[in-house]
Amino acid sequence: MNRKANDNVERDWARVGVLFGCEPSRETPDLERLLIDTARKCPDNARLLPLAVTWLVEYGQFVARHRLKRLVQTELEPEPQAILGLLIEEAVRHGATRELLIVSEECHPLSPAVPLSRVQRDQTSLAHISERRASDVSQKCGVWTPPVEPKPDAVRSVTWLLDHNTEYRERVIRKGDLRVSIIETLRRDVPGHWVASELALSRISGATRAAVRKALEALRLEGVVCVGTEVINDRDHPVSLTEGLTAAR
């Protein structure tokens, strides 16, 4: 993770309603990448874990879970993978949607296990404290930390969240399902906001081709995507976001 992204994690959380005492980001964050970057930064700011867990308990249905799963598979290093697995399992344990577990299933435990907090790793006595007090789920994930206590007093309401991040409205209307992953993938992950085929979209959105076809049909009827009538080769139809929807809003 580059330094800029590293500095922005808390600011991005402030933007989506976590009461970090820092200036919020100017733009609505890419939520899946925020979760990825949070997993990377948790060892350096232990406060991130309980706050991200609290946010997911409230707003887990905003997450484009198929896209997040694909980002885990293709971009996330082993240690933050284990941390993201812990984050999601703790969130589900405290009431977040169980549908997020399709992401944690992709997160492999870290072996050998280490304390989650980096400052506890360098000193043997602190590492022992961390291991002794580690929750069952953190032991399973290989990143020791005590049981997470959610902090609902530090997360703003859904009204505030949507007032300040209007593009998240479409996420929650679709409850983070495959349609959201397709939209966010076309909007953020592919040059020109288009892909050559349904199959290509299936590969990069982290879902089966049949599921992608069904979601695409729904999105086409909603007027959100265009499926090209011209074939690129014998069978493939290009898929693109409808003009005007390409920018992250």
Partner: protein, 186 residues
């Protein structure tokens, strides 16, 4: 938009204004602990603290209901969580050293609302007690950089807690290890 020190100031000020408008509480003093005390004192950075306010004691106690009513009104107006000002931390009041209230220091006054916070050595002592089960508190301690004298004070505090503990299984060895770790790195 965020709840940085300036916004926190505003939220507390508006709470004070609402209390004043009600006019029947008289002066109310709040004693702050935790991240908001660290944030308002400049001991912790905004990225290391959250803006919810932990009140360990209100004086007079009977005014507390009026305070949280006013705070809930302010929450509506500023888009804050309804419980941005709360006293859940009272269950951890035993972590504070004896005499903490006498050593507390005034932060701001907003009409009838006086906001005080625990002083630095008490803040550090409370963080040491909780750090074994809250890694973020150990990170805060590294950021605050306690002096040798402040750690000696905390050591005495742990000794007192050990002497007074009624639970034979309660151990403060991990907290002592935190002190030793801090002595090693600061």
């Amino acid at each position: 938009m965020t709840l940085d020190a300036t916004q926190l100031d505003r939220a507390l000020r508006e709470t004070g204004e609402r209390l004043a408008a009600e006019g029947d509480t008289g002066t109310v003093r709040l004693y702050l602990v935790g991240g908001s005390a660290g944030l308002l004192s400049g001991w912790l950075s905004g990225a290391r603290s959250t803006g919810d306010v932990d009140v360990t004691q209100a004086e007079p106690a009977e005014a507390w209901e009026a305070v949280i009513w006013a705070a809930a009104e302010v929450a509506d107006e500023l888009g804050l969580p309804a419980t941005w000002l709360n006293d859940k931390c009272r269950v951890y009041a035993w972590c504070l050293p004896l005499g903490w209230k006498e050593r507390s220091e005034p932060l701001r006054t907003f009409g009838p609302l006086e906001v005080w916070r625990i002083n630095r050595q008490d803040f550090i002592a409370a963080k040491v007690v909780s750090a074994p089960s809250r890694p973020q508190d150990y990170e805060d301690l590294l950021a605050v950089k306690p002096t040798a004298e402040e750690l000696d004070f905390t050591d005495e505090h742990l000794h007192r807690l050990e002497q007074e503990s009624l639970d034979p299984d309660q151990s403060f060895e991990d907290a002592r290890a935190i002190i030793e770790a801090l002595r090693g790195v600061l």
